[in-house]
């Protein structure tokens, strides 16, 4: 009897083998449907295992096709892009390539698609990146490109999706693609997105990121979801040469005014007092969740949470800091400036005050495109954003970044620097970091600069 493989709801059903038979890779016996079942990602291993057993296989799981043609446009790869592709090929088409922002990860993906010529799904974390991939794939391969996400649902042999939409649809689409490209793949090990990777049969998988390490240590899951890191170059390996713009980082400390200092210290006192009275140590791994849980249980706790937020707000948006932003905008009136904030409120305040465009998660795709095009053509000299431009978005014209406020995340800080590093003739990139003195921002800043790019 033939063994039949069928794709069902993100899994592969194996029928034609007895329940008493030897288990296949990733398979469990499913009594509900009286067949063996594996996560779809085990498909390639299953095929190999059945081939070793010399089983005749009726493969109805594979729903992907070979691309009729390759790339129409082939750019000469940079040496490190060629090395990255070779490393990925040597790993049998599964693995993560780590390259700094602006080094041309998209080009590596196009080379991989051209190499494997299988229908391909590219997953990206934001709609801006989906739009960017759409443009690149269409121009490179000259075929219709599908989009899933942001209200679109079109599936083609080359398709781009947000991670969120892939999570929703992979149970139906998981057998339609032979190659998955995970852009900004450090997002992948989260439980929901990992499920999207597991619900797809694709034997070939390519992860792309500048910052693979995750604070929760789950980068170890890359091996299972898309393969191990097969190639790596960091900012310091490529900057100053032909591939990334030379750069400089400047850290500026600003003082709080007298009234703000008083308000800050008072709020901080309330918060610290609550921590001390409840024995909460913020340096311990459970410190933050302990604080959230305990602060929700009493009026005293809620006051402490409000105080915590207040002292952060004062540090993030200190008047002296915002004044200094005005000075920097005047100083760099002929440059292209990106302002980054930790929160939307500060971004909105900067937009109002200096009359510059703002991009937040609420900004529609069309307006975002228009704003980015305006920055590129010089219609705008500066834009302000909270976090949505942290990753991936290609803004070659930008040469000055001002981190007005941010988290302690090294990844976020490296990604923000990456926005201004794409090489252009004569470009010298400059990143300012504004830090409010004698607040927790000094500590936050020290933590996020713990990367070779800032040494």
């Amino acid at each position: 009897m033939d063994v039949t493989l069928t794709f069902r709801g993100g899994t592969v059903e194996v029928t034609g083998l007895p329940a008493s038979g030897a288990a296949l890779p990733g398979c469990l016996w499913d009594a509900r449907t009286a067949c063996w079942r594996a996560p779809a990602s085990a498909y390639a291993d299953l095929r190999r295992a059945l081939a070793r057993q010399a089983q005749t296989v009726d493969d109805r799981a594979r729903g992907y096709a070979e691309l009729p043609g390759g790339a129409l446009v082939r750019r000469t790869p940079r040496p490190y892009q060629e090395e990255a592709l070779c490393a990925w090929q040597a790993a049998k088409g599964r693995g993560v390539v780590v390259l700094p922002t602006g080094a041309g990860k998209t080009q590596v993906a196009c080379m991989a698609i051209d190499d494997r010529r299988r229908s391909t799904l590219v997953l990206a974390p934001t709609l801006d990146l989906v739009r960017q991939w759409y443009d690149v794939l269409r121009a490179t391969f000259g075929v219709p490109v599908g989009i899933i996400g942001g209200g679109d649902y079109g599936v083609e042999a080359l398709t781009v999706s947000t991670y969120d939409s892939a999570y929703l649809h992979m149970e139906h689409l998981g057998n339609r693609f032979g190659l998955l490209v995970f852009d900004e793949c450090h997002h992948l090990p989260g439980p929901a997105y990992a499920l999207a990777a597991r619900a797809a049969v694709a034997p070939f998988r390519l992860g792309l990121t500048a910052t693979p390490e995750r604070a929760d240590g789950r980068h170890a899951d890359f091996d299972e979801l898309c393969g191990p890191i097969v190639y790596r170059k960091d900012i310091v390996d490529l900057s100053g040469g032909d591939y990334l713009a030379p750069y400089e980082t400047v850290r500026l400390s600003v003082e709080l005014g007298e009234a703000d200092r008083l308000a800050h210290d008072e709020a901080r006192g309330v918060y610290r007092d609550f921590l001390a009275r409840n024995g909460i140590r913020m340096s311990s791994p459970s410190g933050w969740s302990d604080f959230i849980i305990r602060s929700a249980r009493s009026e005293d706790g809620r006051r402490a949470m409000a105080a915590y937020r207040r002292q952060r707000e004062i540090a993030f948006a200190a008047p002296a800091k915002l004044d200094y932003v005005g000075l920097l905008l005047d100083r760099h009136r002929d440059d292209r400036v990106l302002l980054f904030t930790q929160d939307n409120a500060t971004a909105t305040e900067l937009s109002r005050r200096f009359l510059i465009p703002i991009i937040t998660h609420e900004t529609r795709v069309r307006e975002r495109s228009e704003i980015l095009a305006g920055l590129a053509d010089g219609g705008y000299g500066a834009i302000v954003t909270s976090k949505v431009l942290n990753e991936g978005v290609d803004i070659p014209a930008a040469n000055v970044a001002v981190v007005v406020s941010g988290s302690a995340s090294v990844r976020e800080h490296v990604q923000r620097l990456g926005r201004i590093l794409r090489a252009q003739a004569g470009k010298h990139a400059l990143l300012y970091e504004l830090v409010t003195a004698k607040t927790t921002e000094t500590f936050t800043s020290a933590r996020r600069r713990d990367h070779s790019a800032y040494r």
Binding site: G9, P191, L195
Partner: protein, 406 residues
Amino acid sequence: MLTADLVAARRRGTELRLPPTDAGRRARIATLAAELGAVARAHLGQTRDAVEEALREAGLAAETGAAGERRLHEAVGKLVRDELRFEEPAREDAIALRRETFRWAAAARRAAPPAPFDRAAVLDSVARARGTTAAALEAGLYADRPGAQRLLAVETTAPMLLAAGFEIREAQAVLLRATRIEATVRAADAAIYRRLFRTLKFLRLLPVITAARSGIRIEIDGPLSLFQGGGRYGLQLALALPAIAACDAWSIEADVRWGAERRTLRFRLAGEAAAGAAATDAAPPDELAAFIAAFERQGSEWRIDREPAVLDLPGAGLCVPDLAFVRARDGACVYFELLGFWSREAVFRRIDLVRAGLPQRILFAVSKSLRVGEALLDGAPTAALYVFGRVIAAKEILARLEALAG
């Protein structure tokens, strides 16, 4: 829908329990719903920011300090907020205004000779060019922000009805974290079962149905749960609850992953046809609706009964047909069930039922994607399989009805 953080569920050993919803709690919920609805109505025409602020203040004022009061307030507030309707923002106007103002500002900043940026001068210039004032210009600059949208209507459920259905809403929030449910339901009216099964099919859940001593038992999960054990189907399971709770009598047992550590706990709930939690009428699947229309268009002496009885063969199992066809000439009846989704095993369970002696005539329409052959029921005098590709052909069904009815 409520979210898990708004539910005051408590762990008791390995169980998760909701606070008992007695008459006192229901009255408190109804009072809160009435108060918050009134606050919202008093802010008709005002911005979302103002409405949110007012609801927050009402929350602080209403707090009695009783345990769980704050969370209850937030939960009722969420349900009231879900029913507020805000205006659609005049997005294009605001975008155009920003474009013009910000481009003007960028040009002014670069103007020679270099001078500090003069915000007021830019606003005045743009306002003059547009024939308006600087103040009006500023007011319109971010008018498409969600917080700036105005409240148009408060479409609140009656407070007593909201209170009556509150426990189901809380249970739904718990089921968002469910990995599996087993439900036992009883209904006198087959239409209620049909609605339930259509809901489960629509939600792409995998129900395994067996007859219970009183009613039927349904185990519900999905294909990936075999590996994940996680909450992939939590939303679907939560959405299925109102259809379960619409049965005359019902109970559920669910495994839920609760708390920061996502510990697996057992959650139980039972009730009778819940007021305020009536199942939304699950529409028949598209292919079935298309078939019904085509069958009626072609004309025949067969009438379609859309609410047929549940067929129960004691000891063997049951099935819930989608339709029954009744022939005008002699009243001959043939039941019809569509098996269009992914459980191939469901087809074999129906075949087993026929072989066990299901007395009624029945025709199963099975999607080609399930890879079963019509020959599986060859020779069965009262049942037949019809395998269809993209559409269920009305002519083919008519021929099979005639063959079965003789």
